[in-house]
């Protein structure tokens, strides 16, 4: 009998890796693109590739507690008579009632309140519960205009005009039939149980020159009181920021590709839009070129996870950051306690992203009353408040170590990069050198 000859170790192709093979099989089986929630999952240059320098012979740190390091921020002082005063430089990003359960929206409101910051409505309109629980509520103005009405506009504390979002710059909202419950259907004026198709452009304006006129209308309807935000995905951050300024924005929100969505095509999430880290300096440059830095505020979102990310975004020139995915995780999204159920859904805790199916074991991205009841809004709200507090303390710790009495005094010069990509994107030197690619 022939001895079996030695074989090489089985090897996956880097190009046709396990995930790619499964996706090809799924496509061949269903004939439709893969829809999921969340932001870009692949590895990208991000804040972890940057480091702070800290204190040294020439820079002296601040003592914790005694020597103040403030973290408050005012948003929308340019035109609005009632800008937003936040205690912390972290806001809760727009997520719709419909994509999230009512309990989840309430929890977000409670947590944001306790931390002294704002929440944002999403592509479905404002619920009374959200308005009641959020002391500061930003009302999104989207292409779909689901539930849009002047009374809610007047009840809002700020208005966020959505031009795009990081997960899908150029894509509209999407909500599958499983989540179009009676209440969601009524709010959105849709038949129950259908798959919501959404427009990708606003119905009554296209372009920053016409947006300027739309902003005039919104200000006229709200007596020029509310700050107007313009949110863009990570497409052309320099020009997008410049045009948002010219259109009349008080605040600009730039959302990178790690920014989450409730549901869209996976191919959109992973292959359209730039990483958050790549968007910040160009946006700040546009503000500086137009002498509007710190006069028009910049909020950065897309993969903000901890106080280091907050501090780095601010050091690069942002005024504040916004969290979506991280806020949901703080509430209890993808928690290992539901591992059995995740396995039944064909996934595992930490990887679950089929939020559009509405079967979330954590009760957050679902409209199923039984599942939604699993989330205690008070407890979850406390968890969010804790998490926001930790992020703020972390950012303050870092800022103190860099000798700053306010987190806004963090600068690019406080940072270095670990990789050439991060160095080029953030325009800070490669650690140990004075080299910035392209300069």
């Amino acid at each position: 009998m022939q001895k079996k000859s030695p074989q090489t170790t089985p090897r996956y192709s880097a190009t046709f890796d396990e995930y790619t093979l499964s996706e090809i099989r799924r496509a061949a089986s269903t004939g439709i693109y893969d829809i999921r929630g969340g932001g870009a999952k692949r590895k990208l240059p991000h804040f972890d590739d940057l480091l702070f320098l800290g204190a040294s012979m020439s820079r002296y740190p601040l003592e914790g507690y005694r020597e103040r390091c403030d973290a408050n921020v005012v948003l929308g002082s340019r035109h609005a008579s009632k800008p937003l005063h936040l205690d912390i430089p972290i806001t809760i990003a727009g997520m719709s009632f419909g994509s999230l359960s009512g309990q989840a929206k309430e929890a977000l409101g409670r947590g944001a309140n306790a931390a002294g910051t704002s929440t944002t409505t999403g592509d479905g309109g404002m619920t009374p519960e959200e308005r009641e629980h959020s002391a500061m509520l930003v009302y999104q103005y989207l292409p779909s205009r689901y539930g849009m009405n002047p009374d809610d506009l007047r009840k809002a504390d700020a208005i966020e005009i959505v031009v795009g979002q990081g997960a899908k710059p150029g894509g509209g909202g999407m909500l599958m039939g499983q989540k179009i419950s009676d209440r969601v259907a009524a709010m959105r004026t849709l038949p129950k149980g259908i798959d919501q198709r959404s427009a990708c452009r606003h119905p009554d304006w296209t372009g920053p020159d016409d947006l300027e006129i739309k902003i005039l209308e919104l200000r006229e309807i709200t007596n020029w009181e509310k700050p107007i935000y313009i949110k863009v995905g990570g497409a052309r951050p320099y020009y997008d920021t410049a045009l948002a300024i010219k259109a009349g924005a008080d605040v600009i929100v730039v959302d990178g590709m790690q920014g989450g969505t409730a549901a869209t095509q996976d191919v959109f999430i992973e292959h359209v839009g730039q990483p958050t880290l790549a968007c910040i300096r160009p946006a700040v440059q546009a503000l500086q070129d137009m002498d509007m830095h710190r006069k028009i505020q910049l909020i950065v979102s897309g993969g903000i996870r901890n106080g280091a990310d907050v501090a780095k975004a601010i050091a690069l020139g942002a005024d504040a950051v916004s969290i979506g995915t991280a806020a949901l995780v703080a509430l209890g999204d993808n928690h290992p306690q539901y591992e059995d159920e995740y396995q039944q859904l064909g996934t595992t805790a930490g990887a679950y992203d089929d939020w559009h199916e509405g079967q979330d074991p954590a009760g957050i991205t679902t409209q199923d009353p039984k599942l939604a009841a699993r989330l205690d809004p008070e407890l979850a709200g406390r968890r969010l408040a804790n998490y926001l507090k930790v992020m703020t303390l972390e950012a303050q710790t870092i800022a103190r170590a860099c000798g700053k009495s306010h987190v806004h005094n963090l600068e690019p010069d406080d940072l270095v990069a670990l990789t050439v990509e991060a160095s080029a994107m953030a325009q800070v030197p490669l650690s140990g050198t004075s080299w910035i690619p392209g300069q």
Binding site: R201, T206, G207, P208, D209, D210, E212, R236, Y239, A242, L243, K246
Partner: protein, 300 residues
Amino acid sequence: MCGIVGLYLKNEQLRPKLGSLFQPMLSEMKSRGPDSAGVAIYRDPVNGSQTKYSLAHDNVKFDWQKLGTTLASDCQCNASINQIDTHAILIADAQEPHVRTWLKQHHKGVRLVGSGSSVEIFKEVGLPDDVYSRFELEAASGTHMIGHTRMATESAVTTAGSHPFATGADLCLVHNGSLSNHNRLREQLEKAGLEFQTENDTEVAAAYMTHKIREGATLREALEQALIDLDGFYTFCVGTETGFAVLRDPIACKHAVLAETDDWVAMATEYRAIATLPGSDAANIWEPKPQTIYAWGELT
């Protein structure tokens, strides 16, 4: 993203007032276009052997008179030159290709902004009211005018990036919108011999028209082919020797309005620009349909 306006005077008696009628139209569009402004005015036609050139130089102290006399002696022609702020109008009876070559060889800092028998193009960075007064247009007379206020989208705010862009003798283009395939088109047009000074999408549209017309297309045919070859959102207003033409893309998101009385025809991105004209209240007002060429004067 911008504001565009056009005014064509049917009533000859209004010609001395062209500049003053046009000024508030352009001014109304300043919120849509705070970056730069430009106009093409059609006036004082030269005789058959002469050509009028609109020239510009960044240095307002540039010696235009010397350019005129040197050109006259080098090219053995008659040349007169008149400076207005950063621009100058040159009238010469040499062959146009000779003048163009001579300018390129001897004066690289001079921009050739337009040419023809009656068109004069003025454009600069700044607000429309400032640009208008710098070029003394308030008191200007002429037959027709098109203008533009710019909000730069994906290219820099420079004089060279301002509209109108010349596309041929007495032909020029202003644009509201944003093209999406101009970068590839620019490469193809460069291969065909056209030169570009900016990254501006409108410059590509203008060069496209120039190229088609040089290849033998009429202006109408060039516009019809533009509908096929240009991608993106656009409302174009094309100034011609005898009038102007208007064209909107098939999706037609960028607003445009036309108005006509016995005395004039006007186009604008917003009606409030037209509201400033006498008789606008009773004018026939309508919106141009997508993919349709509207023209006054001859379209050849």
